[in-house]
């Protein structure tokens, strides 16, 4: 039943993905002038390459035909050629995707690991100084532009001089042992992941607090207390589970803002991820790179949403997707 639901979701998202890709494709071609014109003028690219790609992407055919060929090429693993990096797009994308994944995943762990206990804490100490301090903090964090926060932290780090200022690896990374490599990357990860999770932590903490307060008002909590259960059991066994469920639904939405936020942070902290790649691509009008990385970001978001869905069925036994039909 579970598998059937996942399959159903996959099919419908495939259709959506097609629509997204067509939109991106159309967008790239809506730009006045053929982008191959500028390539022809570029002395670094041979005329044969241009002609080969013109033929490969059927640039003289109508838009829909071009799109069809593009999709077929993508399914064949031919994602196009990056004229900025002078390699096929796939060569650049793989590593970048992995880096974005590391950054987003770490900050997701940080966010959830900190926001949920803080939310519970604030709910239990409602309107006391802990709650008030946390709410002021959340408002401030929520209103600070993440890139600005990143610059402030980088500035502080430049004064302090312990953490590396941007990038992902130290210059002598290649000569390190495995353990040193992991440590080096982790050190580089601290600032971008910390800043990224700080802003999403703020809103998540507020939501967790709200959920917890809502649950604590329920009758079954009163019943549990009336039974004489210890307060710890009431809160952590009865209240927490129910307050937690709506957050799992949010997880899907979190991915979208996480990826967007990650893009800006990547750019500021020069983390070699998908977002900074897309910026380079847009700046240099590297069409295939723009289309592929947008598409890939969409895929990442969809995968995240499906995972959140599956997680929800695992966490909440009331949800059975198969039974709906």
């Amino acid at each position: 039943m579970m598998l059937k639901h996942v399959f159903y979701r996959l099919c419908s998202t495939m259709l959506l993905l097609l629509a997204v890709s067509f939109f991106t494709f159309w967008l790239m071609h809506a730009t006045p002038g053929n982008f191959f014109d500028s390539l022809r003028l570029n002395p670094q690219i041979s005329q044969e390459t241009v002609a080969r790609y013109e033929k490969l992407y059927h640039l003289n055919d109508p838009l829909l035909v071009q799109y069809g060929h593009w999709i077929i090429n993508i399914l064949h693993g031919e994602w196009g050629y990056s004229f900025y990096y002078n390699v096929p797009v796939t060569h650049v994308l793989g590593g970048r995707l992995f880096n974005t994944f590391i950054l987003s995943f770490t900050s997701l762990l940080l966010t959830w690991g900190a926001a949920i206990p803080l939310g519970i804490w604030a709910a239990l100490r409602r309107n006391q100084w802990v709650d008030r301090t946390l709410s002021v903090f959340s408002f401030a964090a929520f209103s600070t532009p993440s890139f600005f926060l990143a610059v402030l932290v980088l500035y502080a780090a430049s004064r302090w001089g312990v953490l590396p200022l941007g990038g992902m690896h130290s210059p002598h990374y290649d000569s390190m042992t495995i353990i040193e490599k992991i440590r080096d990357t982790a050190l580089h990860l601290i600032i971008p992941a910390g800043v990224l999770s700080l802003s999403s932590m703020a809103s998540l903490q507020r939501i967790m607090r709200g959920n917890m307060l809502g649950v604590l008002r329920q009758q079954y909590i009163l019943a549990a207390r009336a039974k004489g259960l210890p307060e710890g059991v009431v809160i952590y066994r009865h209240a927490l589970r129910n307050a937690f469920n709506p957050l799992v639904t949010l997880l899907g939405y979190e991915f979208a803002s996480l990826l967007s936020g990650a893009a800006l942070i990547e750019i500021v902290c020069s983390w070699p991820g998908l977002g900074s790649l897309l910026l380079t691509a847009v700046r240099s009008k590297d069409v295939y790179l723009v289309m592929s990385s947008t598409l890939l970001a969409g895929v990442l978001l969809i995968v995240g949403n499906i995972l959140a869905d599956i997680l929800l069925t695992l966490v909440d036994p009331r949800i059975r997707y198969g039974a709906r039909k």
Binding site: L16, A30, F139, Y155, A263, L264, G275, L278, V282, T294
Partner: protein, 348 residues
């Protein structure tokens, strides 16, 4: 006391509780001041936003002084002389021999100093332009772009959500798939992809308009989905049925009977969306894809600060970030208060 609220009294009540909330009134006044300063930028700023003097690159803030040779004088500033230190870094030393009195209300500006002197209240940027002036000229763009973007995406979101919810069926399905398509691409990626489609040779007005359009395209979908949900339940209500049986055209029912019912929700969201658009514009401009250079916006004023080196030697270029923070914070507080007041779910 339990009272059945009709629509108007709920909004009135919300405004009343808004009025009582000191913090949100404070935020409202801060916003009024910010918008006022932006509107009167021509009068308040000593220089125009593109008035540059390359001899004063990253000149630190100038102090206004009143005390000279043991007696009080009218406010004046000292001249600055550019020297280089042992590692060839620019150092501006205060030149005590040169004095430039501040002129008030001269040439239509609130305060200026005479030509060879420069008055940098908040320091200068890389090209020796006055940061104070650029912040307030930039406020015009940053503060208006959010409002315009929100206006467009609200019209889109309300209309599309209203139509989808009212008609239901295949109209609903098509429109909602369209929404999902926009929501499927992470916002910042969508912004960059849309920006890639904008021709490079646009002038500053065209860039401004295209940034507004890009912003409005990223936000309408989520609003449309929520309005659609409300419209779905509203269309079953008696007053819609009455209007229908009286032969009121569908579009009038949507505009006059359904959408006004969603106002309470959308007003609070409006404020929160303005703040997210201000942030989005800043994000787009800071990476150099939004408002282009001679024209300032709070975002592109910060683009200099993105490389960490200028910040170390001229920390005052971070100042526009503070204003983004203040404006966004105010919109958030107001939106939050309105939502608490309007939405019974959030009320205790």
């Amino acid at each position: 006391m339990k009272k059945i609220f009709n629509h108007n009294s709920r909004i009135e009540q919300a405004f009343a509780s808004f009025h009582c909330n000191r913090l949100s009134m404070l935020c409202l006044w801060v916003l009024v001041i910010l918008y006022g300063l932006a509107i009167f930028a021509d009068f308040i700023c000593p220089y125009s936003y593109k008035d540059e003097d390359r001899d004063f690159s990253y000149c630190p803030p100038t102090a206004v002084e009143f005390w000279d040779h043991g007696r009080w004088e009218r406010p004046f500033v000292h001249g600055r002389a550019l020297t280089f230190n042992s590692v060839h870094r620019r150092v501006y030393v205060i030149d005590l021999s040169r004095k430039y009195p501040l002129h008030f209300l001269k040439g239509g500006r609130l305060f200026t100093v005479d030509a060879p002197g420069r008055f940098y209240l908040w320091g200068a940027d890389a090209r020796g332009r006055d940061l104070f002036s650029r912040v307030w000229y930039g406020a015009r763009i940053s503060l208006s772009i959010g409002l315009l973007g929100v206006a467009i995406s609200f019209i889109l979101g309300l209309l599309i959500g209203g139509i989808a919810g009212y008609y239901g069926g295949w109209v609903d399905r098509v429109l909602m798939r369209l929404c999902e398509m926009f929501m499927m691409i992470p916002g910042f990626y969508l912004m960059l992809a849309l920006r890639a489609a904008v021709p490079e040779n646009f002038n500053s007005v065209q860039v401004y308009v295209s940034v507004v359009v890009i912003l409005s395209l990223i936000g309408w979908a989520s609003l449309a989905r929520i309005i659609r949900g409300m419209a779905l339940s509203l269309r079953e209500r008696d007053f819609v049925l009455v209007a229908k049986s009286l032969g009121v055209p569908d579009i009038v029912i949507i505009l006059k009977h359904i959408l006004p019912q969603t106002v309470s929700y959308s007003m609070a969201t409006l404020m929160l969306t303005v703040s997210s658009y201000i942030l989005a514009e800043a994000g787009l401009s800071v990476v150099g894809l939004g408002i282009q250079d001679p024209v300032p916006s709070w975002g592109n004023l910060l683009s200099d600060a993105m490389g960490i080196v200028p910040v170390i030697f001229a920390p005052w270029i971070l100042l526009p970030g503070l204003f983004i923070f203040i404006a966004v914070m105010c919109f958030n507080v107001i939106g939050d208060t309105l939502r608490d007041a309007l939405d019974p779910m959030f009320r205790d």
